[in-house]
């Protein structure tokens, strides 16, 4: 007799004695559950967002007046050298990984991840990398620039150990990100819910998979480059030392592959989150699920391949520059189609203008501006003019803040109830949004204009005689406003984490699987994993319940809590465990369409969460009708 025959078809709580209760921080640091790991990433990312904004403000303080003397060049270079990796490696990528690591397994209907300890290890590596990078401030911080390009970062020109801290810190993070990507891709490959084909996978899961593929391909490149750099520095290697026949350009390629990957990840995080948020808040399916998925995949392929567009001034063959330009211009197609898709999603919808869609629309606006700039300097001649000026830097700031901060906070506002069971403060969130938006414009606009006049990046001073004093003054003011907005946003998240208003498991009426789980989800995520028949599994379930209630009113559960509704496929006839009964009781408010949920937040003129739509109207052929959803016996 196989164990299958006696084991129940649904999970039960099995315990071999009581677990010893450990201190909270130990639990936080050693819990290998993907949700706990993601919270580690999230905490780190938000912390370093504030740190990066402070560093930016410090550098701008130095640049308020021409030839300022507030911060000495040596100190300025140290701030600059940690600022680059802080933005990309400690903030933007980890934020994307945090949200992806938390949400994607839930969206795909996985009860966990494939390699939980590998995931935990990746978070440790990330935090260790951050500790090493910032630990260097206890002795000698790095000072070899944002990318630590050799020959400047070789032991000849940077004999102190600062660059070692930079290389080890960034290298640990890169290895960590690789581990993370392996874990998540294996999960997405093997642990999806039954019926969750990729064509039905939510767009954010597509973005998450794309983000992990980018990390899997580009992060090891950076790790390898940094190992080579360390060999050069400490073991007389000659990989990058031109005096002995090494190739500094090789490192430049490697570093740009990784950092361009980080840039694209920021873009994909925002694109994925927007593609989830707009349909939910407009109460419409995404305009074209397939086109959005293909666009995301295309961005993930074309974006990193355009890394050499940062190297138009370097001695690379003309053909390589044209290749990079072709890839960068190719991005016009998927990015343009994503915007068309988003507009089509809003068109004819009924947009609830909450904070999450506000951030999402802000992200679209900033991404359009930033990518418009990127489109400009991806043309080789324009790149010669704008590359490494504050104009290019301003466009990048639009993408990083638009994608990372606005896209990231759009996603946070949207999924915060899922992450914590609490709302992320809406009014403070709005205040933060407008503050960041104003700060960003006031910061970036003069930078763009100064860059057109030739102000270079990374400078510790500018000169009175080139007539850019006003631009720099205004940009500095903007950076302070930006810092204030970011502090408000992060403080809002920190406060809401402990004291936000409690909310139900599905405050927005979402249609993807993560809204089926409790908030926050239990260790095993789902008590019952439904069969997925369309890209909108929860809508199918609601339809099925509605249909059942219409056809067989006598089966309507009453009172609601006494007989919880069935959410799993073909499971109704089976005995349920006590644990699940408790979970399910809190679960499907769909079974009680008139029940108020999520408190008073949505009380004003918001229809009940069940989507009143015409069954059979069709959803691009994916679902013949709502009845095709999860079968409920």
């Amino acid at each position: 007799m196989s164990p299958r025959a006696v084991a129940p078809a649904r999970p039960e709580i099995v315990s071999h004695g009581l677990r010893r209760r450990r201190a909270g921080w130990i639990e936080r640091a050693t819990n290998a559950d993907h949700k706990s790991v993601s919270m580690l990433y999230l905490g780190g990312a938000l912390t370093f967002l504030v740190v990066a904004a402070i560093e930016l403000a410090l550098m701008r303080i130095q640049l308020i007046v021409p030839e300022g003397t507030t911060i000495q060049p040596e100190t300025f270079d140290r701030i600059l050298s940690v600022f680059g990796p802080t933005v990309v490696v400690l903030f933007a990528i980890p934020l994307a990984l945090a949200l992806v690591g938390y949400i994607v397994p839930l969206q795909l209907g996985a009860r966990g991840v494939a390699f939980p300890r590998l995931g935990l290890f990746s978070a440790w590596l990330y935090l260790a990398g951050a500790a090493v990078l910032y630990g260097s401030f206890l002795y000698r911080p790095p000072n070899a620039g944002i990318l630590s390009l050799p020959p400047l970062s070789t032991s000849t020109f940077s004999p102190t150990h600062g660059v070692d801290a930079w290389a080890i810190g960034v290298g640990l993070c890169a290895v960590g990100f690789t581990c993370f990507a392996i874990n998540l891709l294996a999960t997405a490959r093997t642990m999806r819910a039954p019926g969750m084909a990729w064509r039905r996978a939510p767009i954010f899961s597509w973005a998450g998979a794309a983000i992990c593929w980018i990390q899997l391909v580009t992060a090891p490149v950076m790790a390898a480059a940094l190992v080579m750099l360390m060999i050069d520095r400490h073991f007389s290697g000659i990989f990058f030392d031109p005096q002995q026949g090494g190739a500094p350009l090789l490192y430049e390629h490697f570093a740009w592959i990784f950092f361009t990957g980080g840039y694209v990840i920021t873009l994909l995080l925002a694109a994925g989150a927007i593609s989830e948020i707009l349909p939910t808040f407009a109460r419409k399916p995404i305009f074209s699920h397939r086109a959005a998925a293909v666009s995301i995949a295309a961005v993930a392929v074309l974006g990193p391949l355009a890394w050499m567009q940062n190297m138009y001034a370097a001695p690379i063959g003309k053909g390589f520059a044209f290749f990079a330009m072709l890839m960068a211009l190719g991005l016009l197609l998927p990015v343009g189609l994503l915007v068309v898709n988003w507009v089509g999603t809003l068109w004819g919808g009924a947009l609830r203008m909450r904070t999450a869609p506000l951030y999402a629309i802000g992200a679209i606006s900033c991404l359009l501006l930033g990518l418009g700039g990127e489109l400009m300097y991806s043309l080789v001649p324009v790149g010669w003019q704008l590359d490494n000026t504050t104009a290019a830097q301003g466009a990048t700031a639009f993408v990083v803040v638009g994608g990372g901060v606005f896209g990231g906070f759009a996603a946070l506002h949207y999924w915060f109830p899922k992450l914590t069971g609490r709302m992320l403060g809406e009014s403070l969130g709005r205040l933060a949004f407008w503050t960041i938006l104003v700060g960003l414009y006031v910061f970036v606009a003069p930078m763009l204009l100064a860059g057109l006049k030739g102000q270079p990046v990374d400078v510790q001073r500018f000169y009175d005689d080139i007539g850019l004093n006003t631009y720099n003054l205004v940009a500095s003011i903007g950076s302070f406003v930006l810092l204030a907005g970011i502090v408000i946003a992060v403080a809002n998240a920190a406060v809401s984490f402990r004291a936000g208003r409690r909310t139900g498991h599905d405050p927005w009426g979402g249609v993807t699987l993560e809204w089926l789980a409790l908030s926050p989800p239990p260790l095993h995520n789902f008590d019952a994993v439904p069969d997925v028949r369309s890209p909108e599994p929860l809508r199918d379930i609601r339809e099925a319940i509605r249909e059942r209630d219409e056809l067989w009113p006598e089966r309507r559960p009453r009172p609601p809590v006494a007989e919880p509704a069935v959410v799993g496929a073909g499971t109704a006839s089976e005995p349920r465990s006590a644990e699940e009964a408790a979970g399910a009781a809190a679960l499907p408010s769909e079974s009680v369409p008139s029940a108020p949920e999520a408190g008073d937040e949505r009380a004003d003129a918001v229809p009940p969460p069940g989507r009143a739509t015409e069954p059979g109207e069709g959803d691009e052929g994916e679902t013949p009708s709502g009845a095709g959803g999860a079968p409920v016996s």
Partner: protein
């Protein structure tokens, strides 16, 4: 109420964006780069304006579409959202113009890249205009010949050819720009030198006249810069005279310009190179051909005098006229 206020804010943002866009032509000087004073810089400016217009149109269209959708399709009592999705082929039709635009931009950029790199001949009023300068070369190639020349440059022993300030016959004036932490050094061609006069290494035949920071060139003359570095990465950038070019140790990169007006054109290194990076400025002094030749003679004389002084200090151990240092 709240909804209306938010709508107003969005509308204001859209108006501000449009104003920014359409006020552009009026205040074009704000959004225009530094005026070009060289044919290659003009090509780059043309590419810039085309790219700017394309990007602005796309960005404004995108904003208009998004804001219109946001403003029109808000949640209202009694309004049920339509389950509107894209029909078959919609995205092919939407993507086709974007693909065409990308292809057009690519072709345009390739043409202007080649155009900006093509060295145009020295104009009539330029230095040694009588020389047949029809040969058009393209810069930015990294040939083995150029590398060999780089090594020569680094050794500072390029033999002098031709008369003072002479151009290579039929070609442009070639100047070697050697970057180091944190200054640019420019070697002029064909400097007249006496053996052992002023080189820091003691002086050899063929030592060339050089200057730091300030590059002096004749007006209307095609100048090709052979750029390299002796230590870390640097980057040549004089906005009025063309684009950015990396100075990479072990490589020679090239750019060219033909300044059309006398004056001083400021520039700056744009690749981070250490603590003195922001002081690494460049001033290109464009002067008349005769002034250029005068400059070369004066510079050479000054260098020789300085070298004599140094030689005296080194050999005699005294500063001339002051006794023991």
């Amino acid at each position: 109420m709240l909804t209306r206020r938010r709508l107003l804010a969005l509308a204001l943002a859209a108006v501000a964006l449009c104003a920014l866009t359409f006020a552009g032509p009026a205040g074009a000087s704000i959004i225009s780069p530094r005026a070009a004073h060289s044919p290659n810089a003009s090509d780059i400016r043309t590419a810039y304006w085309v790219a700017l217009i394309v990007a602005l149109v796309l960005v404004v269209l995108g904003h208009l579409a998004v804001f219109t959708a946001v403003a029109r399709f808000r949640e209202r009592r009694g309004i049920e959202p339509a389950r509107l999705t894209a029909g078959r082929g919609f995205f092919l039709r939407a993507g086709a113009p974007l693909a065409l635009l990308a292809a057009g931009l690519f072709a345009f950029a390739v043409i202007y890249t080649v155009k900006a790199e093509t060295v145009e001949p020295t104009a009539g009023s330029g230095l040694q205009a009588s020389a047949a300068q029809t040969a058009q070369t393209s810069v930015r190639g990294v040939s083995s010949q150029a590398l060999a020349q780089a090594i020569e440059t680094l050794r500072n022993t390029t033999p002098s050819t031709g008369p003072i300030g002479g151009t290579v016959k039929g070609g442009p004036l070639e100047i070697d720009a050697v970057a180091q932490q944190w200054v640019w050094r420019f070697f002029y061609p064909g400097g007249p030198t006496t053996a052992g006069t002023y080189s820091p290494s003691g002086g050899r035949a063929g030592d060339r006249t050089f200057s730091y920071v300030d590059l002096t060139v004749p007006v209307d003359t095609a100048v090709v810069l052979n750029i390299t570095s002796t230590d870390v990465l640097h980057r040549w950038f004089v906005p009025a005279l063309g684009g950015q070019v990396d100075a990479v140790p072990g490589h020679v990169t090239q750019t060219w310009f033909r300044a059309d007006r006398t004056g001083v054109y400021p520039g700056q290194s744009t690749e981070f190179s250490g603590s003195g990076y922001s002081t690494m400025r460049i001033f290109v002094h464009v002067v008349s051909p005769s002034a250029y030749q005068r400059f070369l003679r004066t510079q050479t004389a000054n260098l020789q005098a300085a070298q004599k002084y140094v030689n005296h200090v080194v050999t005699a151990g005294t500063v001339p006229g002051e006794g023991t240092p």
